[in-house]
Subunit: 240 residues, 2 copies
């Protein structure tokens, strides 16, 4: 048992990380053997219950967190106390990279919204490794650029698209390139959190789902069926 | 005369960069002497007319650009052809850092909206320097984290705040911590671009300016006076 951040007591089980787990995470796919061994030496496998705060806004991050299973919400709390859901990280994703690379205080709270398994890579050790191992540096810089790119895409979506279009984009991202024009899936989290992630009120999300019905989007609770992926994509990408 | 990107012919004058110019840019403030010498060896001072495309979306960036004078708009063009103004870079700011660090294609077009003077740091040389000079690596990683942070703040603003609140935030950013409760300034660019940067239509920007009149925001063309900075700040930060 340990807390992953000195300031955050948490009910977390930790274990050594098997090298095979590193190879499972896209994050580390181009890291060479020596780089992986260096990472393994400063990493811990974390098993975390739902509702655990992993990192706090305003505090330097002590670990880079790579998510293997479960979901983590990244939230930013403004001066007024209002909280924005910046992202909900899915397996394969990561948290706190920017804070870990720079040593600056983190910008967001990271909180598990399901039980989760993560690799925690110790921040100071990672910054040292970055200067020694080029393959680790490349992987981190690439992941940083992808993380930045995801934020740029959100900024553009929020500036150009309506809630219904942003919802369409989000649903299409969840479908993972289906061959078919129809797909059925479960929303990965509840509609309250989905509304916050999309940046709208819950009543606007309901209106957006209603508006998408004519584009073949059928919902029963958390179950969503897209009956016309091509049509939905064309609508989602049509801009403002 | 040269074009700064192989694929972008442009009417650009170039010269060697005086070391004093590096010291003027906050970007390089913690870089040591050896790092600055390394940077100077791979940098060019660029004098660029208004309306020049410096980098194109989808193409790897050949230079990190640090803006000394003038303004540069960063725009992302979506699949539909609609273009979002992600940021308007002011002197002291930079462009293309994320693409330069990762070697991945750039996410945005960078275009001068005034005549501009920039330091162009050659991308491949910079990536090599990053692995040799710890003070350069630290400066770049910190700048990357700040750039990421600026995008996170935009995402939060767009999710939580109305157009009038986002406009208030933007006007307050332009005031640079005045001691007084009143300040007068010129908008750095036209209202069409301001609307795009804030992510609203021009008519909504006009409505937002009208709504801010009761909070002491007075406009005459590009001239803006804030008569109650404390009140405006409290309104801007009040969240959704």
């Amino acid at each position: 048992m340990q807390s992953i951040d000195r300031n955050v007591p948490a009910n977390i089980e930790s274990a050594r990380v098997d090298l095979r787990l590193f190879r499972m995470a896209p994050f580390f796919k181009d890291v060479d053997e020596r780089g992986l061994a260096g990472l393994a030496a400063i990493s811990t496998l974390l098993t975390v219950p739902e509702g655990t705060t992993l990192c706090r806004q305003g505090v330097p991050a002590e670990h880079l967190l790579v998510l293997l299973e479960g979901q983590v919400a990244l939230e930013n709390v403004g001066a007024s106390g209002a909280s924005a859901v910046v992202e909900v990280v899915q397996p394969g994703g990561h948290c706190m990279l920017s804070a870990v690379l720079s040593g600056l205080p983190g910008l967001m709270n990271a909180r598990t919204i399901t039980a989760a398994t993560l690799i925690g890579v110790e921040a100071t050790g990672l910054r040292e490794l970055l200067h020694r191992e080029v393959s680790v540096a490349s992987a981190l810089l690439r992941a940083g650029a992808e993380e930045f790119g995801a934020m740029v895409r959100q900024v553009c979506d929020l500036k150009l698209r309506t809630t219904a279009q942003r919802l369409s984009c989000y649903l299409l991202e969840l479908t993972e390139e289906p061959a078919d024009n129809t797909v059925s899936m479960r929303l990965p989290f509840d509609k309250r959190l989905l509304a916050a992630r999309l940046g709208c009120r819950q009543e606007n999300l309901s209106r957006a789902f209603a508006a998408l019905r004519r584009l073949g989007v059928e919902t029963h609770g958390a179950r969503v069926t897209l009956h016309d992926i091509a049509g939905l994509r064309s609508y989602a990408l049509s801009g403002a």
